[in-house]
Every structure is written in structure tokens, then in C-alpha cells.
Symmetry: C2
Subunit: 466 residues, 2 copies
């Protein structure tokens, strides 16, 4: 993906048109700024050299940009906070980076109908706090929630910790404003609680990673505020013991509002970063929460009983501060892993009943390829995040890391799972997507892509091969 020497020059007439159509401050060609916007948060993922960055403030500015790009057949890479983990927002050579990060207005919070309408650049945490002031709750909470945006969350169908009870971003999106490849503006969905008028275009765009259109507004349903959760943690001698608890607990009664797993390498990584007092002999950890108010203590007692049956040792938090401490280890895995070296982040999701096979299989792959792999999981959903650690200056490790990264996806598919539970396909998993979809699935994807983006200008090479 080296930039052709003519990339910027090739934008010539399109750039003139952009400068004529948009406010001056919206268009940048400064190479340093472009370089700083060329990648998302996916480690070790290739990116090209963009020709321009447009930071739109309105749907009209997004539409003007796409009309021009369409006319001049210039590729467009939609971006927001660039917190994605699959390279979906990485530049392609000669592209216009089209950012909605400045579209930050919360347009409406309707307390009666429990629905909010926001511009695509609104940060998840800003919306969550704004609706909380009205006694409402926007559940999807990707780890990036303090910086990622509703537009990006919708474009990638982001998950998070409390999906196990409440569902993912797409379960809350009711309608979108989307600018299509030719610059026309489409409103999908509705603000009502139900609706079946026409095809579900809303969910076609949710998770399409900027390949079908650019999301500029998002309407989400909200819930009544949940009660403050109670938290328990259980330490197990082995991964298999912890994993056996997951389906047993999940099928024993009401769903927890959080059920997370950490393996020993993750515990070690966190402990090296900050001593949180994890026991030295813990082979794996589960953390569970219940937010069912008066029923929560019984929920956690049930969790503890099942955990103890499988050899676990359980601590139930006495108060919110202790609960936060119990969760802190899980929250620190990301930053602690980054300290270990370069890494490739997998995101397979398997049936809950196959969780043990998946995580034990990852440990076997780690051993076979001679690379450290830390593994955490949104265990209640069967969504596993193995991070393959490697030295980016060691060509052999790089090769083995990529092999391991792919072998983990192959294992997930063999176990009846999917290559990505919440991070998306982007660039990193494109080749495995074709395996997962099969030829008919790929053909249908291509047909829909061609119908909506006949010139192939929208995020080319992402999700599907170009």
C-alpha cells in the first residue's frame, strides 16, 4: 500500500471542487495532519497515503464531499474517533478521509419516548451521561466508550461489557441518516418503538464499516436507568474450571449484566502493570455483575455457588468501591497488553458451550507458535479476545504472529463461531470473512455493495476485497 507519487496530484480537480464547496477549515492536505489521521487503533495493520482530510460539521458537508468524490471517482474512507481495532478506518492511497468527528451535537433526548437522536461524532460517554441525567440508560459500552462515537459504534456495530444482558449497538439503533455514495441523503428507520415499513436498511448500514454509506445521524432507543450493579469475582485453578461455570451460570436463571473472563497470561500482564492483589495460584478469573436490585444478592449467590462447585473461590464486593477494584483488573488488560509488545487482536465469538475449547485451543496455539497470547473474554456472550504478542522487529515472530492470528479465527469457525464478535472485519479479517460467508454469501455481499456503491468509492478494500 505504498502511495503512488501522484496520489495528491491526482485529486487535483476534486480538491478544487472540495475547496469551493466546503468551508476552508473543513479541508486539509497538510501531510502531517493526514499522517496523523491515516490509521485507526488496529495494531500492525497496513494503511495508505490519503490525499485530503475533510472534517465535516453537517450532513450537507458530507453530502457535498461524496458528490464530488463520486463525480471524480475518488475513494472515500469514513472516519470518526478512529478507535476501531480492524483497520476499517485506515487510509487507502489517494483517498479523501471523511471525518464526522466534529459532528458532536446531541440533537434530541426524548424522555417520554426514551429515544435520542445524535450526530455521528457524539462520543458514547457524552450521550450516556446526558441521558443518565434524565434517568435513562444507553447500554452499549465498548471499551473505547470514553472516546469512540455513536457514528463509529453504529458503523461497526460495537459491543461492550454489558451486551451479555442488554445487547450490542445495533440492538439500540432505530434509525440513521446516511449519505450514500453519490451524495444523496437517506433517512432509514424510525423513532417509534416498532416499525416494519420496508426493508430494514438501518441494520444493513449498521456494521457495514463505511462501505455502503456514511452515517451522519443516529437515533437510538434508551432504557430506564438500571440499578447499581453488585459485583462478584471468582478465582479458579484452571481455564477449564472457569469456562465450565459460564454456560452453567448463564443457563441457571436471569442473565448477569456482566460476565467477564481473564486467563493467567492476562492476569500476569495486569499484575506487571499494577499490583491489584490477584492470587498467585489463580489460573483464571471470572467477574460477574447483577443489576437486578433486590434480586442481585441472590443472583451473585447463585454465581458463587456454581463457581464453588467448579473449584472457584469467590469474593462478593461489599460496596461500589470494592466492586470497582474487582473490575479494575479487567479494564486494565488493554493497556497492560500494549506494554508487552506489538500485538494482533482477535475477536472470535463462539457458542458459550464451546468457550473452554476455544480458550484452551488458544493456549495450545500460543504454545505451538511460541508466542505469548493473553486471552480475555466477554464470557457470557462467548466473545473471546486473544491478543497475540510479538516483537515487531523480529521477522520470524511477525510471521508466526500472523499465523497464530489466523489460526485462532480458523479455530473459532471450526467451533461454530464467527471471526468477529464486535471489532468488525476491516482490513485485518477480510480474507477470513470470505471463509465464513462462503461463495453465495460473498456474492450477495458484492451485489449489495454494487447496488449501493456502483463506483466502488466507499472504503474500498475493507470488509470485501476491492
Amino acid at each position: 500500500m505504498t502511495a503512488p507519487a501522484t496520489a495528491t496530484a491526482a485529486l487535483g480537480p476534486a480538491l478544487d471542487a472540495l475547496l469551493a464547496a466546503l468551508p476552508a477549515e473543513a479541508v486539509t492536505t497538510d501531510p502531517d495532519v493526514l499522517a496523523a489521521h491515516s490509521t485507526d487503533h488496529a495494531p500492525f495493520c497496513p494503511s495508505g497515503t490519503p490525499a485530503a482530510l475533510v472534517r465535516a460539521r453537517t450532513t450537507d458537508e458530507v453530502a457535498a464531499t461524496l458528490r464530488i468524490a463520486h463525480e471524480h471517482r475518488v475513494p472515500v474512507v469514513p472516519q470518526a474517533a478512529r478507535t476501531g481495532l480492524s483497520g476499517g478506518a485506515n487510509a487507502v492511497d489517494g483517498c479523501i478521509l471523511l471525518s464526522v468527528e466534529r459532528m458532536t451535537r446531541i440533537l434530541d433526548i426524548d424522555v417520554v419516548d426514551q429515544v435520542a437522536r445524535v450526530e455521528a461524532g457524539v462520543v458514547n460517554a457524552d450521550l450516556s451521561r446526558a441521558v443518565a441525567e434524565h434517568g435513562l440508560f444507553y447500554p452499549p459500552d465498548p471499551s473505547s466508550w470514553e472516546s469512540s462515537t455513536l457514528g463509529g459504534n453504529a458503523a461497526t456495530n460495537a459491543g461492550g461489557l454489558c451486551c451479555v444482558k442488554y445487547g450490542v449497538t445495533g440492538d439500540f439503533v432505530r434509525g440513521l441518516t446516511v449519505v450514500l455514495a453519490d451524495g444523496s441523503v437517506l433517512h432509514t428507520g424510525r423513532s417509534t418503538a416498532k416499525g416494519v415499513a420496508g426493508y430494514d436498511l438501518t441494520h444493513l448500514f449498521v456494521g457495514s464499516e463505511g462501505t455502503l454509506g456514511v452515517i451522519t445521524e443516529v437515533t437510538v432507543g434508551l432504557r430506564p436507568a438500571a440499578e447499581r450493579p453488585l459485583t462478584a469475582v471468582a478465582f479458579f485453578p484452571t481455564t477449564s474450571a472457569a469456562c465450565a461455570v459460564v454456560p452453567a451460570y448463564m443457563s441457571s436463571g436471569p442473565r448477569p449484566s456482566l460476565l467477564e473472563f481473564m486467563d493467567r497470561p492476562s492476569i500476569d500482564a495486569v499484575s506487571a502493570y499494577r499490583d491489584l492483589g490477584f492470587p498467585d495460584d489463580a489460573g483464571a478469573v471470572l467477574i460477574a455483575q447483577s443489576d437486578r436490585g433486590e434480586a442481585a444478592p441472590a443472583d451473585l449467590r447463585r454465581f458463587a455457588d456454581i463457581a464453588e462447585t467448579h473449584g472457584g473461590t469467590t469474593v462478593i464486593a461489599e460496596d461500589a468501591a470494592e466492586a470497582e477494584l474487582l473490575l479494575a483488573g479487567r479494564r486494565l488488560v488493554g493497556i497492560a497488553t500494549e506494554r508487552l509488545g506489538a500485538y494482533l487482536a482477535d475477536d472470535v465469538c463462539v457458542p458459550r458451550g464451546r468457550l473452554a475449547e476455544m480458550i484452551e485451543g488458544v493456549a495450545e496455539l500460543s504454545e505451538r507458535h511460541g508466542l505469548l497470547v493473553t486471552c480475555v473474554a466477554h464470557a457470557g456472550d462467548g466473545n473471546v479476545h486473544p491478543n497475540v504478542i510479538f516483537d515487531r522487529d523480529n521477522a520470524d515472530e511477525v510471521r508466526r504472529a500472523h499465523e497464530t492470528f489466523g489460526a485462532i479465527m480458523d479455530l473459532g469457525l471450526r467451533l461454530g463461531g464467527t471471526i468477529t464478535g464486535e471489532h468488525g472485519v476491516g482490513l485485518l479479517k477480510r480474507d477470513w470473512l470470505a471463509k465464513e460467508l462462503g461463495p453465495t454469501g460473498v456474492r450477495v455481499h458484492q451485489g449489495i455493495k454494487a447496488a449501493l456503491d456502483p463506483r466502488g468509492i466507499l472504503n474500498p478494500g475493507k470488509v470485501l476485497a476491492g
Copy 2:
């Protein structure tokens, strides 16, 4: 939609191919059988004359049928229990009716992962009862649940009474097997709790009413069994008093598992059918349920307090039998309405905050057009079912009924709602769909239809103009 004289004859070579490819008992051209299968449950909706009925038992048989239809360019109308209310399953002239009603196997109930996989002809109630034996719960409960099928429920994204808390069919569908227009077989989605690999084709087919493909298998997520609900009913002097309670109650705390509305004409219709002891002076009724176990009595007390603030008189059921009696009136509205004459069934959904305007607007339209309109609502969702009653032998009434039917949809759109909350577009609402979608929305629908069904053989004229 008069049948051309050559309709059956035109099928000639295609019929020979069907007879060669399928078991003899799968193919019928008996005019009486065809006539009996030519319509769904939509009253007063036109239908054409089919050329053949194929009752498939396997995905392969559906695929063989579509391959032949595609090759010979014969229209295909997918059917299951034909309980739809919009004419979506009505025959078009010269079509093959392709029924999945014999595909009745429950293929898998996975208790650990709380997921079921069924053939498209499995009746909703059969699945619901089968999973209940495992302590699980499949919530979507359209009124037709004793006869409608999972395939039909998915194809129309059916709703029901408990959507207000648990969501509609689409919220539970995780994956589909779909036979495409050319007979190729597509597997969409996944059986895992989460997954974002590629476009959300699953929800593109859900609610597409047989215009994009024929659903032959459905994978649905399940929930832990809910606790037995407690029930309350409140009688109000006026519609506006009852409607004011709905947003107030819905925004006061956890969601009810049911919140239904009946207007005075509905009460009268039911009372004429069976005396359930409705008070003579009740202008409207709300029925609420909570299934939150120990928290349910407090939920209903909260409902009663809010209802009484708005002039309501509340009865909280002492036991399951009394609860069933309180709900019986609501359940009888359908059959009681059918006794009143021919009717056209609207299905608008508006924001909860506009419910009073919607239902009072329906009453005004009833008066203006001089026709009785009974009105019930899944009030918590803002989903209103006005039934426009008329004498089908009175041409002037027929004309006024159609005007009223359309005026109700126009009112729903003006109030920020949708023309259909759960019944679908079918034939009856096709012209209003174009109003709701707007020209860009229609164009995108047409593009997707053309990509998936380039010869336009799948349920032509439904949802979109042919």
C-alpha cells in the same frame, strides 16, 4: 387482478420441470386447492389466480422450485400459514404459490446457548411450548401465535403483546437459511450471541415479506423463562385520560411486560360478543402486566397510582384466573370485530407521546367518514390497530372505508410515526410505503430488490410497486 385465461397454460414447461424435480405430492394444480391458498388473512385485499401450489418439505425442494421459476421467469409467492394481515401472501396471476407449511421440524434446542433452530413452517406456539419445557422463553407472541409460523413471523418481522418489554421477532432472529431467487441457498448470521462478520443480511431478509428470498430455516435466541406475570386493568372515562397514563407509566420505571389499550367501540364490540362485565361508563381501558417476580406488585401499584391520578379505576388481579379474565376482553377484540362486518385493519405506530393525538384523530376520522372504527393498541409501543368497519355490499361505504384506512396512515405519518408497526406492507399499504420512504428510500429499496431478484420473480408487486 383478473387471471388471464392463459395463466395456467403459461406455466406449461415450468410445470413439467416442477413435476420432474419434486415429489408428486408436493405439486398441486387443483383449482379448488389453489383457490383455498390464494389469500392470507387480510380482509378485502385483491388476489390473483395462481398456476400451481408447491408444498415443499425441504430447503432443497424450495431451491429446486426457485431454480425452475427463475429459469422460466414465473412469479413465486412464498407462503406459510397465511395469517398475514396485509395481503403479502396473496396470489398473483400465474404464480407458483411456494408454501413452507410442511417444513415443521424443530431442528435443535440448545439449552446451554439458549438458541433454537427450526424449519420455517414450525408454528410459533409449538416452538414456545417446546422451549418452555427446557425452562426457556421465546417471547414474540403475535395474536396468530397458535397458527402462524416462525418463517412467516420472520418474513414479516411479527410483533405481539409482549414486545413492549422483549422486542419483536427480528430482535430474536440470529440467522436464517434463505433460498434466493435463482435457487441458490444462503446461510446468514450465526448461532453465537454476538457477531459482526459482514453485512447484516439476516435483518435484511427479516421483514422483507418474501420479496428478496424464501426463508426455510430460522435460528432464534431464547431467554431464561420469565416469571408468571401479575395483571392490572384500569378503566378511564376518556381515551385521552387513558393515553396520558401510557407515557407517564412507561417513563416512571422498569418496562411492563404488557400494556394494552382498548377504546369504547372495541369494548362495545367485545361486550356484544360476550359479556365480560365491562363497566358501562368506561370510555377506555388499559391492561398492564409485570413479570418481574417479587418486584411485580410494586410495578402494578405504580401503574395504579398513575392511572388513578388520571381518573382511572384500577383492578389488580388476585390470581392467574382473574388475570386471564382481565385479558380476555383484549384477546376477543379480533373475533368480535369480525362479527361487525367487513373491515380494513390499520397498524400505525407513533411515538408514545403522540398516542392520544393518534387515537383521538382516529375517532375524528370515524365521525367524519361516518364509519365505525374500533381501536386497540399495543399502547406501550405506540402501535395502534384501528379497524375500519364497513358493509362490503355498499359501494359508498367501501369507498369511504378505503379513504379512512388511508387517512389513518397519513395521520400516523404526520405524527412522526410509521404506517405499519408489525403487520407489514404487503399489497394494502404499498402506496403509503412510498410516502413514508421518500424517493431516495424507494430508490435504495429498488436497488436492493434488483440486486437480489434481478428477474423480479419474488412476490412481485408486494411491498414495492412491480
